[in-house]
């Protein structure tokens, strides 16, 4: 009974901010790269693309953020944070070298077993591209690439300056083992080389088949709403449309009662759900 210490699932690992990158021209998105203060914690933080963590700022609080790095990238873990409220604003003013905490990995992940041997269609919008970046980096590693067939990516933002990971996007564009379809809602940049149009419309144009394919969709609610019928028209059954949800969270481990949709906790049973599963849950998200 007592004497046997219980592992404390609320206790964050101490980390140091190793690198901060401003991602977007409006400066509202920054990527934070963390290094674990105790190297053995990195092993304990073994994660799978699609999972999230609680970023823990002493004196300010904790926020759930999707893991943007890939488990194939060693020595650090990275998150891209949008500036919206108390904790995120504070983080945007933090400096490299500062100490904070991360707690996780939390939640489920994209259905990697099911995805093996399939064509992968990734549809992302805005700053929800974070765990999709993790997934793409993971899949295109030489040791993983053969496990998946064609990889197609539709990724859009309002304008070119709001796209995340622009250097990497340009690199992926050059590769022949991944079909990139980058798009913006609009732009006045005469040199813009990629698509112009909303994500659902570009998806309809560029993705031609649902054969042996699985679609992963992450983005603002409005994008998800209009992408869903496009995918269904292409022939994706709801079991093969995978979504990642957001809810306000605190504990991240299914105890504080905050993030439920029906009898599921988004933090523990999600954040990844198939559309088929979501249809059996109340539409309260």
């Amino acid at each position: 009974m007592r004497g046997v210490p219980l592992q404390n699932p609320y206790l964050p690992y101490p980390v140091r901010i190793d690198k901060i990158t401003t991602e977007t021209t409006d400066k509202n998105l920054k990527t934070f790269r963390f290094v674990f203060l105790n190297p053995e914690d990195e092993k304990k933080f073994a994660y799978t693309p699609g999972q999230f963590a609680e970023l823990s700022v002493p004196g300010k609080g904790e926020i759930p953020i999707g893991i943007a790095s890939s488990p194939t990238e060693k020595g650090f873990v990275a998150f891209t944070v949008n500036k919206v409220g108390l904790v995120t604003n504070y983080m945007h003013n933090m400096k490299e070298g500062e100490i904070m905490g991360i707690r996780g990995p939390l939640g489920n992940w994209y259905p990697w077993e099911e995805m093996e041997g399939k064509n992968i269609v990734i549809v992302g919008g805005g700053f929800a591209f974070t765990t999709l970046r993790s997934s793409i980096v993971y899949m295109i590693q030489p040791e993983n690439r053969a496990r998946f067939k064609d990889i197609s990516v539709v990724y859009g933002a309002r304008n070119p300056g709001l796209l995340l990971y622009r250097d990497e996007l340009a690199e992926w564009e050059k590769r022949d083992d991944i079909n990139m379809h980058i798009t913006v809602d609009g732009t006045d940049d005469p040199d813009w080389k990629y698509n112009v149009g909303f994500v659902p419309a570009i998806t309809e144009k560029k993705i031609t088949s649902a054969d042996n394919a699985i679609a992963i969709v992450c983005g603002p609610p409005i994008m998800i709403k209009f992408t869903q019928p496009v995918l269904e028209k292409l022939g994706f059954p709801p079991e093969r449309i995978i979504l990642s949800l957001e809810m306000r969270m605190k504990c991240g481990i299914g105890i504080c009662g905050r993030c439920n949709i029906g009898d599921k906790y988004v933090c523990k049973d999600g954040p990844v759900f198939s559309l088929a599963k979501l249809k059996q849950m109340p539409g309260e998200y």
């Binding site: 007592r2 699932p9 995120t88 809810m247």
Partner: protein, 345 residues
């Protein structure tokens, strides 16, 4: 099983003696209501009450609880490292807890202690607690413990059960923990057959008085989305003020918030009870709120207690029938009626 008889004075004395080995909490009259307070020599326990206004939940799961602490002092080499707050888990006893409130701990246990995650604070507080229950001779009109798997003398979760025989208490040890507690109680004498018979008769009488017909039997067979879309939610929630009283008084509500508080260069991470009745509970940073309407929050409370929990744990409803939310709701929203609506839908 030890059955002992104490006069009421002897029992109070015994509890004073037990205070050397346990933190003993007893019901004390405080204004118009009873509340659990640590035993002390000046204010005597008062076992003549219906139930405490607040359940005993906070003695295992404090309304505000320190989780972690940290230093924000840049000169401190350990600055910004989040550390566990030392805790006192020395044994405590809740004496006079009603069986419904003890049952509440059993209902919430799978939330705090399951295969995936174990809440160290709830578990250790709970394990260090002896539940010394007091049977209900006169259940109130709003109680319905017998409808939800309990009863006025339900022994399920208790370590000790007290029967109020008028001038005397009969005190029964039910578990090892309870027997250990009783073995340290000074005074009293072994109960004779007549006392045991009298106690059993009290329990039988009380069981007849308590409401046992709130229907919950068909809830498990319903489809979540059907109940969710039922037409009665607007009506059920119409008068609700979203005051949160029902959730704070309830022995089976467990939701909490986590906040950081800083004084000078020293910070604490604290968890506080929270309530699904408040719109902030689900408000995203973006401004989006999946439950921004009152009826949605009322629906969440009842769906959680009477359907989601039922499906998730397969062990009945998330309600011990204490009747507090019925008694204290300012607009008379009655979970018994809602259970009936849902069960018969």
């Amino acid at each position: 099983m030890t059955n002992k008889i104490f006069t009421k004075e002897e029992w109070t004395k015994a509890l004073q003696g037990l205070s050397d080995s346990y933190k003993v909490f007893v019901p004390v009259k405080d204004g118009d209501f009873h509340t659990f307070k640590p035993m002390n020599a000046t204010k005597a326990p008062d076992f003549d009450f219906q139930n405490t206004r607040l359940s005993a939940r906070s003695l295992v799961y404090p309304q505000a609880e320190r989780m972690f602490e940290y230093s924000l002092d840049e000169n401190d080499p350990e600055a910004n490292i989040i550390k566990e707050t030392p805790k006192d888990y020395s044994p405590q006893a809740i004496v006079g807890i009603r069986p419904c409130d003890a049952h509440g701990f059993k209902i919430v246990k799978p939330n705090f202690d399951n295969k995936e995650y174990r809440d160290p604070w709830w578990i250790q507080h709970f394990e260090s607690t002896v539940l010394v229950g007091l049977g209900c001779n006169q259940p109130c009109s709003t109680c319905f413990c017998a409808s939800v798997g309990g009863g006025p003398f339900n022994k399920d979760v208790l370590d000790v059960l007290i029967y109020d025989l008028g001038a005397n208490f009969m005190v029964s040890g039910l578990t090892e923990k309870g027997e250990a507690f009783l073995s340290k109680a000074q005074g009293g004498k072994a109960a004779d057959d007549a006392a045991v018979k009298q106690a059993e008769a009290l329990a039988t009488e009380a069981a007849k008085k308590v409401k046992a017909d709130v229907p919950t039997d068909k809830l498990k067979d319903k489809v979540i989305n059907d109940l969710f879309a039922a037409p009665f939610w607007q009506d059920v929630g119409f008068a609700c003020l979203n005051c949160g009283t029902c959730t704070y008084l309830c022995p089976t509500c467990w939701c909490f918030d986590i906040q950081d508080e800083v004084l000078g260069k020293q910070g604490d991470r604290i968890r506080n009870w929270d309530s699904c009745m408040f719109p902030l509970f689900t408000l995203h940073g973006s401004g989006h709120n999946p439950r921004d309407q009152k009826f949605q929050r009322v629906r969440q409370r009842f769906m959680h207690k009477l359907k989601y929990y039922v499906d998730k744990y397969q062990g009945g409803v998330q309600c011990s029938g204490c009747g507090r939310c019925v008694r204290y709701c300012p607009v008379n929203i009655d979970i018994r009626q809602v259970a009936e609506l849902m069960n018969n839908y």
